[in-house]
């Protein structure tokens, strides 16, 4: 997901986007400048937020998932090479929409390391009806 490219659409829809990563501020800032210059990044090297939001490590079943390998091949075919990470690459990702009252309105837990919600599905979550 290259969300930063869609920041204007999210802003037009009335949403803000904040990324969360496992690294320290220096690592996060280097990542932000290279891959996501328009989005703020929270640094969570101790995984306090990851734990609070229930994000777990990759399971053996997820690693064996055919969709993971298929999506990996598709990514490589697009010319995206995986980078070398100092973080825990076994960490799973997720996306949450939080309204202004602090209530979760959408929660997406990735099923395997290649699984992410589409930008369209996120933009389809209308601000209307949210506090």
């Amino acid at each position: 997901m290259q969300l930063h490219r869609f920041k204007p659409q999210f802003e037009s829809a009335g949403f803000q986007i904040i990324l969360v990563g496992l690294g320290n501020p220096d690592e996060a800032e280097a990542f932000r400048k290279q891959f996501s210059p328009s989005l703020p990044i929270i640094c969570d090297p101790e995984k306090i937020l990851y734990h609070a939001y229930g994000l777990k490590k990759v399971s053996v079943a997820a690693l064996a998932s055919p969709s993971l390998w298929l999506n990996g091949l598709k990514t490589l075919a697009k010319g995206h090479m995986p980078g070398i990470s100092k973080d825990n690459v076994m960490q799973m990702s997720g996306v949450f929409l939080i309204d202004t009252a602090g209530d979760i309105r959408y929660a997406y837990y990735s099923k395997d390391p290649s699984d992410n919600p589409s930008v369209d599905s996120l933009l389809a979550l209308k601000k209307d009806g949210l506090k």
């Binding site: 990470s85 990702s93 202004t100």
Partner: protein
């Protein structure tokens, strides 16, 4: 696992520019997507 209509966990967080904010002070401005990455890289 968290589900819709549960309260979002709040915390004081540090950003890549070393600014410190409480999450609730951010989501109170407008609905917020919080996107957890697997790793930097």
């Amino acid at each position: 696992m968290l589900e819709p209509y549960q309260k979002a966990p709040d915390a004081e967080v540090i950003f890549s520019d070393r600014a410190v904010h409480r999450l609730s002070n951010l989501w109170i401005k407008e609905p917020m997507f919080l996107v957890f990455l697997r790793h930097f890289g």
